[in-house]
């Protein structure tokens, strides 16, 4: 097992969430293949994998592009459970999609049961400034409230596309390292306790 794991670079699992039509697929495809798709074809659930260099380290990113609409809560929970970090997308041209991020956030926190889960609030379609409905201010206020970064992207112009994915991966990587040390720490603690007990006896 350990042998195999060293062969494969670290895998970071990212999930794209957000209402239908906000540009989850468009961002994913731009990041993966440097292309922008004009047509809108609703997604069910697609996954992509890519090898990248993150701060000089070979890693793999696994992107799960989910559906804006999923009827079964239980199924959505299963999607969310598989993620290590989330890009929560809304479209700056559509207020409803911004409102919906609140719900997505709550669901993710419920499922992952972790306030500090790697998470970015992403306002997409920044190229459509003239049709903006959600101000930068209110979006970044919400992000601040959640304690997450807010970034505006455009899948069309590729603005900040790499940034959101890389930033998220860095957070994921940081979390993983952190967890490892916590686990190790805890393990040490346990050992200590045992040892203590032993010495008492």
């Amino acid at each position: 097992m350990a042998k195999k794991a060293t062969v494969q670079p670290a895998l970071h699992k990212v999930i794209m969430v957000g209402s239908g039509g906000v540009g989850k697929s468009a961002l994913t495809l731009q990041f993966m293949y440097d292309e922008f798709v004009e047509d809108y074809e609703p997604t069910k659930a697609d996954s992509y994998r890519k090898k990248i260099l993150l701060d000089g380290e070979d890693v793999q990113i696994d992107i799960l592009d989910t559906a804006g609409q999923e009827d079964y809560a239980a199924i959505r929970d299963n999607y969310f459970r598989s993620g290590e970090g989330f890009l929560c997308i809304f479209s700056i041209t559509e207020d409803e999609s911004f409102q919906a991020t609140q719900e997505f956030r709550e669901q993710i926190l419920r499922v992952k049961n972790d306030e500090n889960i790697p998470f970015l609030l992403v306002g997409n379609k920044s190229d459509l400034e003239d049709r903006r409905k959600v101000t930068f201010q209110e979006a970044s206020d919400r992000a601040k409230q959640w304690g997450v970064p807010y970034v505006e992207t455009s899948a069309k112009t590729r603005e900040h596309v790499d940034k959101v994915f890389y930033d998220l991966m860095r957070e994921i990587r940081a979390r993983k390292i952190e967890e490892k040390t916590v686990n190790n720490g805890r393990g040490k603690d346990k050992n200590k306790k045992k040892k203590l007990k032993c010495t008492i006896l």
Binding site: K4, A5, Q8, L11, M32, K44, A45, D46, S47, Y48, R49, K50, L64, D71, Y72, A73, A74, I75, R76, D77, N78, Y79, R81, S82
Partner: protein
């Protein structure tokens, strides 16, 4: 004519059809040219007359065309209505075949299919068939896959899809093992290949569809045709053998999920008090839902548990309406309630009652000797209505029609046979048709929107009319009857048939068809008899004027004939003589009666026979005149015979044609031919009759 040519010698043409109908004809210009080039009133008058004639001619041919088109229109309309009823009969045959096939199917189905009442009538067979296939499929899976006996325990589970898949290691992307995956309406079952043992596969796990997250793996390096399933904490990757099978799997998943979703929604809507979708995270491999069901057992209300007994009581006390209401309540309840074994048990018991009730109601409608039919159709109404509500409208229709047949038969027996045939036929057709109309009303009330029943009904009416026609033929044609009576009877039947049409049951043509050959034959018989008697009477004829003995009697006679439409004043000589033989006097009277009756019988199909009859008879009579003239009689008697011939060929003939046209709108060609054929008899001598042909030629009627 010469004059006009002289005066212009150029391009003013004589008016004729080709000129007037040419495209570049301009009336103004033509009239201007005419008045320029023609000198004098007579010439203009002549041209005007000519144009008038042309206009009349055109008018006539127009009328003729209109008439012809109209006839064609009527004929095609008739043809259409025949076709329509044939289609109905076909439809009936088909639905009979269908029910036969279904009954054959049901006898061979082993799977119990309780609560038939839940399904609508036409869905029934389809559902059964699918259940059958599903059942067989599940059974075959049971044989192949070890350890999945519980598969059949969920009654609503249906098989959707299966196929081999290769499972990949989620990190390494290498094949771990080959599996067989089965998709059901409620879940995905994974079975692994079994090296040893009798069965091919071993049950591994069952994932519930309501929480199965499927991911289309679009890009996984060099791994193709893969999809993932995410069920926490499992993430499994499966590889299909081609893009098409992968697409197929994803579509099947999607479709199954959507179907389940709509079903769940329906359930949720009907049971609002149930807690909204508790998070369904089942442990993989937990197929056993029994524990879950156990705690809802007590939830059923008392009335539901007691329903079977209550139904027994209702049926025994003949409170059928209450029974039906309770049945419906049970069905409604079942549709919403938790499906557990208590519910299924009650459902089974209730199903038995449902069948009982159906049987009892069908018994109500059955005809048995001893049973009083006093109530007639009205008494059957309730049973029919309830049977329809129970979903047995076909049986109800069948029984209803049997009952109608029986009631009609009673009427046939009851109608007294004494008295004249006409009276009997009048009575009988009155009774039978009134009954059929009444039954039609009743039928329409009972079965307002079932096309299968409707075609059954039409077939029934058709059979009844055949029966009636046969009866009618036996009574009317197989015994001596006068043409007047025959015409009256037939007219009556036609009138009744027409009345049935107002209910949308157009079967006139059927009755007409049944009677046609008999009417034709009867006409032929009358024809022969009549011709025979003409010949016979001619033997005794000594060709004398008729002596009416007194002025009084003469005027009485004149009145009598005037009433028939024959004005005989011009034939009077002296005080008491008529220049018509007694034979011709009698002939004209009987011929007019014959004609009246024939015209009463007239239909397009019978017209040929009718024309034959009247012209044959007429010819037989006029022929006698030709014979006597060819024998070389004395001059004064010759004039008398010719005068008589003239009476027949003009006075009588004109009247006949008038009557004929009144009824049909056009003159009788055949009579006209006879008139032409014998016109030489009267044109030879009498100068007054020279213009008969043109004057009375039937052209003027068009």
């Amino acid at each position: 004519m010469n004059f006009s040519k002289d005066c212009n010698g150029m391009d003013v043409k004589e008016p004729d059809k080709t000129l007037l109908s040419s495209i570049d004809f301009s009336p103004e210009k033509y009239v201007r040219d005419l008045s320029q080039h023609c000198v004098g009133g007579p010439e203009l008058r002549r041209l005007r007359k000519k144009i008038q004639n042309l206009s009349e001619e055109t008018n006539n041919s127009l009328k003729k065309n209109v008439y012809q088109n109209y006839m064609q229109f009527i004929d095609s309309a008739k043809e259409l209505s025949h076709l329509e009823s044939e289609m109905y009969q076909l439809s009936h045959l088909l639905s009979e075949q269908k029910s036969l096939l279904t009954s054959l199917c049901t006898t061979s189905i082993l799977a119990d299919d309780s609560m038939i009442i839940r399904r609508s009538e036409n869905k029934d067979e389809n559902v059964k068939e699918q259940n059958q296939i599903n059942h067989e499929k599940l059974a075959s899976i049971l044989e192949k896959v070890e350890g999945c006996k519980e598969l059949l325990e969920v009654s609503a589970r249906t098989y959707l899809y299966e196929g081999p898949l290769a499972e990949l290691d989620p990190l390494e992307n290498t094949v771990i093992k080959n599996v067989q995956a089965y998709l059901f309406s409620d879940g995905l079952m994974i079975a692994t290949r079994n090296g040893r043992g009798l069965m091919k596969y071993v049950f591994e796990t069952m994932y519930e569809l309501g929480s199965l997250a499927v991911v289309n793996v679009k890009d996984l390096g060099n791994i193709k045709y893969a999809f993932k399933i995410l069920i926490f904490p499992d993430t499994r990757i499966f590889k299909c053998d081609s893009e098409t099978t992968k697409k197929e799997w994803l579509e099947k998943f999607d479709h199954a999920k959507k179907t389940k979703l709509t079903q769940d929604q329906q359930k949720r809507e009907s049971v609002p008090e149930k807690s909204p979708s508790r998070s369904i995270s089942i442990d993989s491999q937990s197929l056993n839902q029994f524990e879950e069901l156990e705690d809802t057992v007590t939830a059923h209300p008392e009335w539901f548990l007691e329903a079977p007994e209550e139904l027994d009581v209702c049926i025994a006390q003949r409170h059928f309406d209450d029974a039906l209401a309770l049945l419906q309540r049970v069905v409604e309840y079942c549709a919403h309630a938790q499906q557990d074994h208590v519910l299924i048990e009650v459902q089974r018991k209730v199903d038995v009652r449902h069948n009982n009730l159906t049987q009892v109601l069908m018994k109500e409608l059955e005809i048995s000797t001893g049973k009083s039919m006093q109530g007639g159709l009205g008494a059957s109404r309730r049973a029919v209505r309830l049977l329809i509500m129970l979903g047995h409208s076909n049986q109800a229709c069948d029984l209803f029609l049997k009952l109608c047949t029986y009631l009609l038969k009673i009427q046939y027996d009851r109608t007294k046979k004494e008295g004249s045939i006409t009276v009997y036929v009048k009575n009988l057709s009155g009774i039978i048709f009134t009954n059929i109309c009444h039954m039609t009303e009743e039928f329409l009330k009972n079965f307002p929107n079932s096309s299968a029943c409707c075609s059954a009904y039409l077939v029934w009416v058709s059979a009844q009319l055949s029966y009636f026609s046969n009866h009618f033929i036996k009574r009317v044609f197989k015994s001596p009857i006068s043409l007047s009576n025959l015409a009256e009877c037939i007219d009556l039947v036609r009138w009744h048939c027409q009345k049935l049409c107002t209910y949308g049951v157009d079967l006139c043509y059927q009755v007409e068809g049944a009677l046609r050959t008999y009417i034709t034959k009867a006409l032929k018989d009358f024809n022969d008899k009549f011709v025979e008697s003409i010949k016979f009477k001619a033997l005794d004829d000594n060709w004398n004027p008729t002596n009416l003995k007194s002025k009084n009697l003469l005027s009485k006679c004149l009145n009598e004939y005037a009433e028939m439409g024959l004005i005989l004043n011009s034939y009077i000589t002296g005080d008491v003589w008529l220049q018509i033989t007694a034979n011709n006097m009698e002939f004209s009277k009987t011929f007019l009666i014959l004609l009246n009756n024939c015209l009463k019988l007239e239909t397009t199909e019978l017209l040929y026979a009718i024309n034959d009859t009247i012209s044959n008879v007429f010819e037989a009579q006029i022929k006698q005149h030709e014979l006597i003239l060819s024998e070389g009689t004395k001059a004064d008697q010759k004039t008398f015979v010719i005068k008589n011939a003239e009476f027949l060929l003009t006075t009588l003939m004109v009247l006949c044609q008038r009557k004929y046209i009144e009824k049909l709108g056009f003159p009788c060609e055949k009579l006209k031919q006879i008139q032409d054929k014998y016109s030489s008899l009267i044109t030879v001598i009498s100068p007054t009759t020279r213009d008969i042909k043109t004057k009375y030629s039937s052209d003027q009627y068009l």
